[in-house]
Symmetry: C2
Subunit: 368 residues, 2 copies
């Protein structure tokens, strides 16, 4: 097997597929990257059996073949080579000789035919969505994905398609984030995608290559996220996702309209004081035209006053400031609505300028 390719092209491709290579694997072959050279193309795969990433780059193929090269050492080495042609010559014992200008390396590889096959998605259902929009859906919900492995299905986000609408929903027991988007599809289905897969997709497409559509295909067990250049295979999470619509309050008694950035910076400062305590709660007092945020600790106290528009009742309610900040950071609207019923019911946060995003957060008890 022998091929020549551009240092920058292969370095970029390795960076992408190596996101699916785990450092801690019991199968040695999975700590490597799979390479297959044929028909003027080099195919690269990283795979940890939960997530696989596959891409292709142009290469001058002198002798077709395949091999597996240890990912960590190889990735760093290629990155440090000069921006020039790199020649790969892999012998029958899977020793790769890599030459670039005055540098020569030998790396001991593994046989390519022992590398696991990529999953096959049966009876696939397919939708298409703009890449930037899908990355935004991830950015606005993934922080609310549960980290608690005791309920595996909540360590992913629900993707629900219905009536030309795609919803992404994440719940961690304290808060819930829902992002909706319009899609050109009448498919009615759902799937729970692991949080790690979504975060890697967001990283892969948030960069320069963010134009165009992402195709999402799935069956009961697997999903494939693909563009012309990149294919990301992911296991889906089994189990029934929470019926999230049931959690949303059907009405509310108070609505506050407030500047997003002012609310965020005020809570941020209150958090500094609150986090000196075990109970990190901050107190929100809503009365007339003002929202007052206060926190206390042994170190001292904080008091922030923000002008608001209030419709409905006055209220005193406690929150974990982190849960409010997480959502305020990713809401792009200049103002948000906060909807309340009472101080033991969830608060709903929504952007003022659109209906596509809903965030629910549970209040917490505050010491009097």
């Amino acid at each position: 097997m022998k091929f020549i390719c551009q240092q920058q092209a292969i370095s970029q491709a390795i960076n992408m597929v190596s996101k699916a290579v785990s450092g801690k694997t019991t199968l040695p072959i999975l700590s490597g990257i799979f390479f297959e050279a044929k028909d003027g193309q080099l195919r690269l795969i990283g795979n940890d059996l939960n997530l696989s990433i596959e891409t292709y780059i142009e290469a001058e193929v002198i002798e077709a073949g395949n091999t597996v090269i240890p990912a960590r050492l190889f990735t760093e080495l290629i990155k440090k080579l000069p921006s020039s042609d790199v020649t790969f010559d892999i012998n029958d014992a899977n020793v790769a000789t890599i030459s670039c200008e005055d540098s020569d390396f030998k790396i001991v590889g593994l046989p390519g035919n022992e590398y696991p096959e990529l999953p096959i998605i049966e009876e696939e259902k397919t939708i298409a969505i703009d890449k930037t929009l899908f990355c935004n859906m991830i950015r606005q919900t993934s922080f609310a994905i549960s980290q608690d492995e005791s309920r595996p299905v909540l360590t992913g986000a629900l993707l629900e398609m219905n009536d030309g609408k795609l919803s992404m929903v994440a719940i961690d027991g304290f808060r819930m984030a829902i992002k909706n988007a319009t899609i050109k599809s009448d498919l009615s289905s759902k799937a729970v995608v692991p949080g790690r897969t979504l975060n890697e997709i967001n990283k892969l497409f948030s960069g320069s290559d963010a134009k165009g559509d992402l195709k999402i295909s799935f069956d009961d067990k697997q999903a494939l996220f693909s563009t012309s250049q990149l294919r990301i295979y992911s296991r889906l999470l089994a189990g029934e996702f929470i019926n999230y619509n049931q959690i949303l309050p059907s009405e509310h008694k108070s609505t506050v309209r407030v500047d997003t950035d002012k609310l965020l910076t005020s809570i941020d400062r209150s958090f500094l004081m609150a986090r000196e305590n075990k109970n990190v709660a901050i107190k929100l007092e809503i009365k007339d035209d003002f929202l007052t945020i206060s926190s206390n600790s042994e170190m001292g106290s904080s008091l922030e006053k923000i002008h608001i528009n209030l419709e409905g009742h006055d209220l005193e309610i406690g929150f974990n400031p982190k849960y409010l900040m997480d959502a305020l950071k990713i809401i792009d609207s200049e103002e948000v609505y906060l909807e309340f019923n009472n101080n033991v019911s969830p608060c709903i946060m929504k952007p003022v300028d659109n209906d596509y995003y809903t965030y629910l957060v549970l209040p917490c008890r505050i010491s009097k």
Copy 2:
């Protein structure tokens, strides 16, 4: 005590003095920043008894006085305030009320008169040196300061003044870095400054405020590094520093002249392979017009070839690549000289375009 100052000015001043505030102190008052308001100025001090940093900013002083405010919480809080006037009102119980626009904080402080006095330097010796030049001296030597506390004097760098020359010398048992500078002083003296002090000085002056002279005053136990705005007090290290001139070889049998950047990038790549081994050594073969750098590990091997000018004998010699890279990274000259005697004697590295810098590194054994 009451004063008003600009958020940006006090935030910047706190950032500077808090570098001398230790998170792990047994004296609670040292985990705070000392504030003294009088005569239209606010004086700030951070102090961990080894290192103290003192600065002044303009303030509207309404009631003079002093206090100590916990550094960590206070620093973060001030940083997050809007860029506006900040009012400080400290009552007799040392509770500070801090107000800025619609934010109010109370922080429990400590009595200012319990804060330790700054050191007094007796019979001081003084020199002046350009700040940028002094920071460069630190940058080019401090990486060779020993981390090994069993020989305390080597955890600092020697500052030696003689005949209008200032030398900074750092030794860690495997390598030695010497940087010389010309100063306008006929003072003949020396002092060993802790590595931490030098690194903080480098951080404090490497930024925008790098113009003008730094005044260095010292006696047997303390040094003061001062500008018009900032005063840094440091303990000096006791004990006799190694007689470094004795270590420098008086002659050499081979001189290699080589491109600094090419040598650095080649060693950097060889290091990737070498570090897979316990013995991270790389091999340099110097012969005719070429320097060949090779390394081996279970993962594979590397071979780099660089064009050189050689005067003298051929040589095969082993090095810890990290020790060579540390120096190559901070030498600003396009080319360097490497001087050798044999493969068990130290190598000297020097910039080609000036005599101000000398780096000595011990070779290591290479497996045949």
